[in-house]
Amino acid sequence: MPDPSAIEALGIVKRFGTLTAVDAVDLRLEAGAALALLGPNGAGKTTLVEMLEGLQRPDSGTIRIFDRAWDDSDPEAVRGKLGVCLQETRLPERLSCLETLRLFASFHGLESTRAEAVLEQVGLTEKADARTRNLSGGQRQRLALGVALLPRPRLLLLDEPTTGLDPAARREIWDLIEALKREGCALLLTTHYMEEAEALCPEVALMHKGRLLARGSVPRLLAEHAGGDRIEAVFASTDAPDFSPSLPGRLSSQRSGPDAWTYRVEDLARALPALLAETASQGLTLRSLTTRKATLEDLFMALAGERLAVGAEAA
C-alpha cells in the first residue's frame, strides 16, 4: 500500500470578516516531497499553513495530514508527525537552549537525550547553556528549527524560516533543511525569497490574494508563463517610444520606469543587435542595458500583474 499523502487539502476557504484570506485552495504534497509556497505579504500563505498545522480551522474544505483529519479523535497523533516552525516566534527568553529543547521534547513525550541529539544536529552544542535571549538571529532560528525537529517529523512546515537573517545564517538553515529532505522528510516552505524557493524545493506554488496561481517546477512554469530572455534598457531621455515590434522574436514589452523598457524576447542573440540599431537610428542614447534569464519574479509578474516586492529585493 503506498504511503498516504503528507498533505491533502481540498477546497480550503478561510475568511476574516469581509476578507477572504484563503480562497478555494487545493493542495497536495506527497510523502518525502518538497514544495515552496511563494507570494507577497498578505497572499494568504501563513493562514493556509496555520490551517495545515491545525492552529486555525478552515471555514470550508477538508485537510488530511498523512490521511488523518484534524478533527479526528486523536489530533495529538497527527501533531507527533509534524515539525512546525512558525513565523517570528520568540522562544522562552530565560531558558537555555538545552532547557528549551527539553521543554518541547517533554510535550512529545521524548527523553531529554533527544534534546541533546537535536542540539547537536542544529549545531548549537556549544550554546547549550546560553539563554535564548542572548543568541544571534541565526542561532535563534536554528534553535526554532531544532524545536520542529524534536519529534523526528515526517512533514516539516516552515513559515518563512530565514526572514531577517543574513546570507550566511540563511545558508546554514538551508543546509539543515537539505539534510532533513535527504532523510525523506516532506517539506512545505513559505518564503518571500525566490532563490530560497528554487534552492530548496523542486516545485513552487505561487499564491496571490488567497488563491494558488500556478504550481510546478520553476523551469516548466517559466516556460509556460514567462518564457524567453529579458532585455532591460534605460534611456537617457523619458520619451523613448516602444520600438519593440521591430525586434526579431519579440514576445512582449513593458515600460518598467519613466525612462526604461523591459523587452521579452525569444532569442537574445538576434534581438540585441536589432535593439542597438533601432536606438541609434532613432537618435536615442542608452544609459544602461542589461540582459538576463527569466526569474520567478517575472513569472509572478506575468501571472499576478504585480511584483513580489521583498522577494525581488532578495533575489
Binding site: 497523533a77 512546525v84 516566534t89 520568540r90 530565560r94 532547557e99 521543554l103 519529534p151
Partner: protein
C-alpha cells in the same frame, strides 16, 4: 501518563527558572512585601508609650503663658505640644499635623478639647492626657495583647495580597506575554494538552507562593514576633483554596488578549477594588454595615478575613471551611470559563 508527568515537570521547572532568573521578580515578590511589613511595623508595631502631637491653643494675650506652659509641661517626651494659633487649628487637625487640640491646658476649669471623636487614636490620647493633666491616677493598665497591633492586623492582609498578586500578575500577565511572543502558539502545535500546561503552571505557582508567604511570615516573626495562633494546617488549606481561586481568575483574565497593555488594564481593574473592599489595610467596619456584609462575601475578603481569623484569632478549620468552599468554587468557575475561551494564539 508518564508523558504528561514529564511535561508537567518541565513546565514547572520552566516557571521556576523564569522566576528565579528575573531579579526584579524576586525583589517585588520577596523583598518588597518584607519592606512594607517593616514600614508598617516601625510605624505601629511596638508602641511603648503614648505618642502624639497636641496643639495648645490660647488667646493672643495668653501666648506667653502658653509658651511657658509648653516649656514646663510635665509629660516628658510622651506628648509633644505645639503652639498653634486659633486660625490655623482647623487645617492642622485636618492634615493630621496634630491629633487633637486643647485650650488653656493650665486651667482645669476652662480647659476645652477639640478633636474628631470618631478618630480612635485621638480619643485615646484625649483620655490619657485628661487624666495626666488633672494628675489623676491613670486608669490605663497596659496589657500586652498578642494580635492587637496594626502589624497583626495588616500582615494577614499582606499575605493574602501576595497570593492574589502573584497569581494575577505572574500567571495572568504571563499568559498574555506568552501569547504575544507566539510561544503559546508554538506549544499548541505540539501534542501538549492544555490541562498539562495549566497543571505545571499551577504547581509552580503553588511552590512560589509557599516560598513567598513563608518568607514574609518568617521575617514578620523575627522582626515583630508575629505568630500563627490558630491551626497552621487550616491556614495552609485556606491559602491553597485562595491559590485555586486566584489562579482560576488569572487564567480567565489572561485567556484572550495578546496585548500586555490590555492584560495589565484587566488585572488592575480586578485588583484595585480588591485593595479597597477586602479589608487588607483597614477594617471593613468603617463601611456602612450593609455594604460591609456584601464586601465580606468577596473571595479576596474571605481569604483576608480567614487568614486573620486563624493567625490572630486562633481559629481553625471551622473558621475557614466555608471560605475554602467559596474560594474553590470561585476558582473552579473562573478556570472553567477561562479554559473554554482560552486562545493559544
Amino acid at each position: 501518563m508518564t508523558r504528561r508527568l514529564g511535561a508537567i515537570l518541565q513546565i514547572y521547572l520552566w516557571s521556576l527558572r523564569d522566576y528565579l532568573r528575573e531579579p526584579a521578580a524576586l525583589f517585588w515578590t520577596l523583598g518588597f512585601p518584607i519592606l512594607m511589613t517593616l514600614a508598617f511595623g516601625q510605624v505601629t508595631g511596638r508602641p511603648k508609650e503614648l505618642r502624639a502631637t497636641v496643639a495648645v491653643v490660647a488667646s493672643p494675650a495668653e501666648q506667653e503663658r502658653a509658651a511657658r506652659w509648653i516649656a514646663d509641661e510635665p509629660l516628658g517626651s510622651a506628648v509633644h505640644f505645639v503652639n498653634v494659633p486659633e486660625n490655623e487649628l482647623a487645617r492642622a487637625l485636618a492634615t493630621g499635623k496634630v491629633r487633637l487640640a486643647v485650650e488653656r491646658p493650665w486651667e482645669p476649669t476652662t480647659r476645652r478639647w477639640r478633636f474628631d471623636p470618631s478618630n480612635q487614636e485621638a480619643l485615646s490620647v484625649y483620655h490619657e492626657l485628661r487624666d495626666r493633666l488633672d494628675q489623676r491616677p491613670s486608669d490605663i493598665d497596659p496589657v500586652a495583647v498578642t494580635g492587637g497591633r496594626y502589624i497583626d492586623f495588616v500582615l494577614p492582609g499582606l499575605l493574602a495580597l501576595g497570593i492574589v498578586n502573584s497569581c494575577l500578575w505572574a500567571v495572568g500577565l504571563g499568559l498574555v506575554e506568552l501569547r504575544e511572543k507566539r510561544v503559546l502558539r508554538l506549544m499548541l502545535a505540539t501534542p501538549l494538552r492544555p490541562r498539562t500546561f495549566f497543571g505545571g503552571m499551577f504547581l509552580a505557582r503553588l511552590t512560589l507562593s509557599t516560598v513567598e508567604a513563608g518568607t514574609l511570615l518568617a521575617a514578620s516573626s523575627l522582626l515583630f514576633g508575629v505568630h500563627v495562633l490558630g491551626s497552621v494546617w487550616a491556614l495552609a488549606g485556606l491559602w491553597l483554596c485562595g491559590l485555586v481561586a486566584f489562579f482560576g481568575l488569572a487564567v480567565l483574565l489572561g485567556s484572550r488578549t495578546d496585548r500586555p497593555s490590555i492584560g495589565q488594564g484587566l488585572i488592575n481593574a480586578a485588583t484595585l477594588p480588591m485593595f479597597l473592599v477586602s479589608g487588607i489595610f483597614f477594617s471593613l467596619d468603617n463601611f456602612p454595615p450593609a455594604l460591609a456584609s456584601v464586601f465580606r462575601a468577596f473571595p479576596p475578603t474571605l481569604l483576608v478575613d480567614g487568614t486573620r481569623a486563624v493567625m490572630g484569632g486562633g481559629g481553625g478549620w471551622p473558621e475557614v471551611a466555608l471560605p475554602c468552599l467559596v474560594l474553590l468554587a470561585t476558582g473552579a468557575a473562573c478556570f472553567a470559563v477561562g479554559k473554554r475561551i482560552f486562545r493559544f494564539h
